[in-house]
Amino acid sequence: MATVLFYLLSAVTLVATLLCITRKNPVHAVVFLVNALFALALLFFLLGAPLVAAWQVIIYAGAIMVLFLFVIMILELAPGQAMASASRRQLVPAVLLFLLLLVSAGLIIMRDPAGAVWVEGFYLSPRDFGQALFSRYGLAVEIVSFQLLFAAAGAWYLGRRRRVRQEEERR
């Protein structure tokens, strides 16, 4: 049962991602990506990470992707106008590379005996997760919180009123 679910969800993720990266309209792309992220969250849940799955939905799909949408809207990127489709010059090497890399990676993975190990059913309760997080990784938490502070400061700086005055001058 879980196995089938895994393959199903994987397929959804991959297809959604594929569609995401080939859209002209940025909003469409973001929506497809949200789709993929939801499927990914379910995968996480399947692999015994309920907390991570929840956070995937809340933070990634809920905050980060919303932020993307927000910026796309604020910039009023009209579809087809601001988004140039990939030129053939970039497409061909990209596809070729993709295939090459995929094949190489696939071969590497499949030939490794360690890849044949089956993952058992696993479930990590939030309690255990919290214990691990705050005992062994307390420093990392602090650092990441600093980083969020820096990011906030940086984002505020970049978005200061001065830029608005320039825009007004340009108009």
């Binding site: 970039q90 990209a94 590379l97 090459l100 890399l101 190489s104 990676a105 071969l107 590497i108």
Partner: protein, 620 residues
């Protein structure tokens, strides 16, 4: 007098030069002049007082060791024998008179210190050549003489042509000096020593072919300094220097250094009949060549330069005919009257405020008799008028050449007689152009300093009376010089009849020259337009142009080839090519940094792909 004082002879002029060089800036001009004159006069005194030391085999004194390197032993050795003593006395004596003359000549001109330093240095170098017993030491003096000559010819170097004349003199003599150096090296290799006395002693032991080649090399080496064919082109241009320089260096001393060298190693070169014949031939041909050129010259100093060249040719002829006495006899008398002629010419030029064209000078007889009469005396000697010093010395040479017995030498004697005729012609031409007054004379006389006047007199006396040095027996003389230096005729005494006959012929030729000059120039001293033949002789048989085409042109072409094509294009081009290809490579690499993010990301992805493939291949 002690033999240890011989070194004073060259040292005093050197000391004078050094003192003036160091301090000439600080003390007044009088002191510089007096110091220079005193130095040379002291050397003259030393040479005179030390004369007895030169008798017999002469005196050799070693001063100190200069180079000692295994087989090469070059001590500073001075050899004071009769030959050296005669030459030294002449050099120092004439130099003293010319130094005094020079103080008047440079009156009111600046830069006197340099002049006197160089003159003293020159006398030192010349005395080194005269007194050296070691070939390397002689070479040192030889080069010193060459340098001083260059510096003094180009004394007024601020004018381009003067500097070029100095350079030309130096380079032409340098080309000849190479042969001299080759001869010295070869002699060292053959005999293991550079001592002149030792080499002369070993001379009979050398193979005939070797000796001939050595003689020829030495001939070429001597020809450079003595301005004989083919190294004679520098002497007429060397007249760009001040007149005292011309008088001292290019009349009496440096140009006779070649003759002196040949006399010094006479025991060596006399072993080779071919060599002697070559020397005689070079001398005679040069004499004839120079006399033809002198006949058409308009510049008074150039005329005297060609005349010098011609007379030195006679000296070479004497050496080639086997008589050192004859050569030295003519060398001494020539030094006297040629220096006199140059000094008088200097006075004439001074009086005419720098004018040197014969056809514009004139009226000397009335304007300045103090210059004219010594000039006349000198001209008489040069022309070989009977009973002057020049007559006896020239005659001695012709006699020696004739008496050699060989047909070759007799032909040379005839050519010598022809040259004597030409000599008389151009000498009297000088007098008739310069002496008589003419209409449109150059204005009032300039006043000549007294030192430029009274120094002419001793030389005139010496020139006229020079015959007494070696008065031949047929005239009732004691042949004094011959007693000192060796026999005049090496191949049997000719009958006195021949001597008298030759004397008569020579006298007639000189009188013929006088009469021609009188007919041509007296009363109508206008220059006739010069045709092509005239230009040919005027330009020294176009020797300068010949050298230009044969030597200098190809040399410049080769130099241009190597510098413009090989050096600039190939080598520099090669270097530039390397630099430019580096630069080009860098520019091409630069194209990778397009600044476009997509390109950078693609590159990174390709790198990642390469790593993946490699890992894959490793795991296979």
């Amino acid at each position: 007098m002690s033999r240890d004082l011989i070194f004073l002879i060259p040292l005093l002029p050197l000391a004078g030069a050094l003192l003036n060089m160091l301090g000439g800036r600080f003390w007044p001009r009088r002191v510089t002049e007096s110091l220079a004159v005193a130095a040379v006069a002291g050397a003259t005194l030393a040479a005179a007082l030390l004369w007895p030391l030169s008798g017999g085999e002469g005196t050799t004194v070693e001063l100190f060791g200069w180079l000692r390197a295994g087989p090469l032993q070059v001590p500073m050795v001075l050899h004071f024998d009769r030959l050296a003593a005669c030459m030294a006395l002449m050099v120092t004596g004439v130099s003293t008179l010319i130094h005094v003359y020079g103080t008047g000549y440079l009156h009111r001109k600046e830069d006197a210190v340099r002049f006197f330093v160089l003159l003293n240095l020159f006398v030192f170098a010349m005395l080194t050549v005269v007194l050296a017993d070691n070939l390397l030491l002689l070479l040192l003096g030889w080069e010193g003489v060459g340098f001083c000559s260059y510096a003094l010819i180009g004394y007024w170097y601020r004018e381009e042509e003067n500097a070029s004349a100095g350079r030309k003199a130096f380079l032409v003599t340098r080309c000849a000096d190479v042969f001299l150096l080759a001869a010295i090296l070869w002699l060292f290799q053959l005999t293991g020593t550079l001592s002149i006395t030792a080499i002369n002693a070993q001379a009979p032991l050398l193979a005939p072919g070797t000796v001939t080649l050595l003689a020829l090399l030495l001939l070429v080496g001597a020809s450079g300094k003595s301005a004989q064919l083919p190294f004679m082109t520098w002497l007429p241009d060397a007249m760009a220097g001040p007149t005292p320089v011309s008088a001292l260096i290019h009349a009496a001393t440096m140009v006779t250094a070649g003759v002196y060298l040949l006399c010094r190693i006479f025991p060596l070169i006399s072993q080779s009949p071919t060599g002697m014949a070559a020397i005689a031939a070079v001398g005679t041909l040069t004499a004839l060549y120079a006399a033809t050129c002198a006949l058409v010259q308009r510049d008074i100093k150039r005329l005297l330069a060609y005349s010098t060249m011609s007379q030195i040719g006679y000296m070479f002829l004497a050496v080639g005919a086997g008589t050192v006495t004859g050569a030295m006899f003519h060398l001494l008398t020539h030094a006297f009257f040629k220096a006199l002629l140059f000094m008088a010419a200097g006075g004439i030029i001074h009086l005419a405020a720098g004018e040197m064209d014969l056809f514009k000078l004139g009226g000397l007889a009335r304007r300045s008799p103090a210059v004219f009469w010594p000039l006349l005396a000198g001209v008489l000697c040069l022309a070989g008028i009977p009973l002057t010093g020049g007559f006896f010395s020239k005659d001695a040479i012709l006699l020696a050449s004739f008496a050699r017995g060989n047909m070759f030498y007799q032909v040379l004697c005839l050519l010598g007689l022809l040259t004597a005729l030409l000599t008389a012609m151009y000498s009297f031409r000088l007098i008739y152009l310069v002496g008589p007054a003419r209409k449109g004379d150059i204005g009032e006389p300039h006043h000549l300093p007294s030192t430029m006047l009274w120094t002419l007199i001793p030389l005139a006396i010496l020139g006229l009376a020079g015959g007494l040095l070696n008065l031949p027996g047929v005239w009732g003389g004691n042949e004094w010089l011959e007693g000192l230096l060796g026999p005049l005729i090496t191949a049997g005494e000719p009958a006195h009849v021949f001597e008298l006959l030759l004397g008569l012929i020579a006298s007639l030729l000189s009188l013929a020259g006088w009469l021609w000059a009188r007919w041509r120039y007296a009363g109508k001293p206008e220059p006739r337009p010069v045709g092509t033949a005239g230009t040919f002789f005027l330009k020294g048989w176009q020797a300068d142009r010949a050298i230009e085409t044969l030597l200098l042109g190809p040399f410049r072409a080769i130099a241009r080839f190597w510098s413009a094509i090989v050096d600039e294009r190939l080598l520099e081009g090669g270097v530039f090519l390397a630099a430019r290809s580096c630069e080009g490579f860098g520019q091409q690499l630069r194209r990778l940094t397009t600044g476009r993010l997509g390109h950078y990301l693609t590159a990174m992805a390709f790198g990642l792909g390469a790593i993946m493939v490699w890992v894959l291949l490793q795991s296979i």
